[in-house]
Symmetry: C2
Subunit: 405 residues, 2 copies
Amino acid sequence: MAVGPGTLPDFFPVAGVKLGIASAGIKKPGRKDVVVFELAPQSRVAGIFTRNQFCAAPVTLSRQHLAQGAPRFLLINTGNANAGTGKRGMVDANACCEALARHAGVSTTEILPFSTGVIGEPLPVQKIVDALPEALANTAENRWDEAARGIMTTDTRPKGASRQVNLGGHTVTISGISKGAGMIRPNMATMLGFIATDARIAPDALQMLASELGENSFNRITIDGDTSTNDACMLIASGQYSGPEITLDSPLLPELRVALQQVYLDLAHAIVRDGEGATKFVTIEVRGADGQQEALDVAYTVAHSPLVKTALFASDPNWGRILAAVGRAGVDGLDLDALEIHLGDVCLVRNGGRADDYSEARGQAVMNREEITITIDLKRGDTTETVWTCDFSHDYVTINAEYRT
Amino acid sequence: MAVGPGTLPDFFPVAGVKLGIASAGIKKPGRKDVVVFELAPQSRVAGIFTRNQFCAAPVTLSRQHLAQGAPRFLLINTGNANAGTGKRGMVDANACCEALARHAGVSTTEILPFSTGVIGEPLPVQKIVDALPEALANTAENRWDEAARGIMTTDTRPKGASRQVNLGGHTVTISGISKGAGMIRPNMATMLGFIATDARIAPDALQMLASELGENSFNRITIDGDTSTNDACMLIASGQYSGPEITLDSPLLPELRVALQQVYLDLAHAIVRDGEGATKFVTIEVRGADGQQEALDVAYTVAHSPLVKTALFASDPNWGRILAAVGRAGVDGLDLDALEIHLGDVCLVRNGGRADDYSEARGQAVMNREEITITIDLKRGDTTETVWTCDFSHDYVTINAEYRT
């Protein structure tokens, strides 16, 4: 199951970013499971990585390589996460980078590796190495659609976003793809995002954008509260557009930021819509918080509550469960009499209990929708935070209980 | 579903503690839904209450009355939680206490009220008041069995524990009952525990015992991570036994403590075994932690992970999910190479990855059991903490999605 149509957009090619796809047969013969990004010289890359303490070998290696200079290639494989693989995992990840470097005539540190798939199995290095010539032979700027499919694991559909904006008289193109279906499956580890633009962006501005845009999108979605060992989201700026370099104090930065943020959000939301067993796309907005931490504590406590999520699955406007989740979010001194909770445009809770004008019929009408917003106003301050999640269905249990059988 | 036989013990009566049961017809006509504890004069009571910021009216009132002196009665109703009921909730809870005080000839502040059931509906005060004469007319020391049934809501079975120990030549009796089936259902709010002993215990020792024994039992179980608005656990000491008063420095205190702790644990574990949809009883032990907080952070992150819980349901020894949960528990500087994870007596993770001597067949053999222990050794310090939980099944979704329909 998944929420909404979920069709891929018509991708705009990004000048200076070529995509190559190949089949290494890692899990299934013939399946496209290797994707290569080939970046024009002078491209810049910044990214964010999982905060899981046990990050996978490719995450460690990508971090190291990124610190040593501008990458020329991204190498992604599905079917195997190369996580929980000990010292051998690092050797294997490096061997794949070395092979690609040799074929392409660049240095090993110019390759960023990404792996996604089963945890704890040795990476089938030779299969990946053998597939590299095929991938390199067919790189082209118009293969985003195939790349979106090539990074899928248990996703039920490919995920992409693309747009062009006018930035001070110069056309900027942004295209991106993502994958992920449980906010994480440690077994099919998990979320990846690759966003490319032809804008020329100064390194510090690029890192700021990669951090902040990721924080407001991929770091605000949750399906089951787990965090993968392999999560990564990379922002590529090829610098091939006709405009000037965007720096931290550039007047064009805010506009570029808005355009990029929309692509990040589209890709992040696509993961929630394809959440394991998802039948609802749920926006949880916490307003009136006294600072970001308490806003996020309340939002995530509601978003992760199995009782709230099963009620959403049942289209049950069970405001008592939302209220109880807010109350246990660890925020001291909440004022129940001031608190307001809305479901869509229907007020559920006001003046310390069920709102006087609430009726089950009105709550039910909102709950029946496929896209639902829960707004919680703490009336304590002026901070607002939003997270996105999905419901918790029988299919979630089926998918995760039967994954290995 | 539930784990184990779950039969009630033969209860030892506790001298000075009488139980009365009545039917108020709060949700269903004829159902026993009111339980009264009548305590002999000089009895002492201490307890712990929910930390949910939006605690129910009876919790607030019980806290107030407890601060004003020794209670003579506990009044428990099921079918309605009197939570999320605003100012009216306090008026209603007080009205029930006033009526019982009038019937029994004690003061209102000598009554502790407890409610459990649906959130957000007004308490049917008159029905409860009308049932009080019946409850008071039949109080007796040998009605623990009926009381255990009388405090049930969606529990599939009553929960009790009882034992006698010899304390310095004097027989001490301890009996207790509990209820709860989701670690919380904000809708059927939720966990209650009542433990009585005939020992004479000094007030400060009693409060210490109530806090610490509850902390190590009821505060170490989790079914779905939610915390009720109505949770409460009370320890009653009637003081009718033949021995001396137990004080904080009494040499008999450690032995009494051990006996009480076992009753608390039995009652807490009974709640997990009756967890909504539970098919497994799971002990999660974190060893080698550098302090209690990180031990509990790791234990609860594993215990709450929907991916770990669905794997337990499927009897799938999916060590990657346990590993990833440990890694995201928010503990900085974990050493994957030092970490060890055991499933029962089978080592899953050692030296940074799957243990060399692990085999799927050995893991599967442990997973097939109904009672499973997961041991996580962080190898950072000498703190050990244990929490208990259950698995996450289709029935959990069914029960919580269809609760109100």
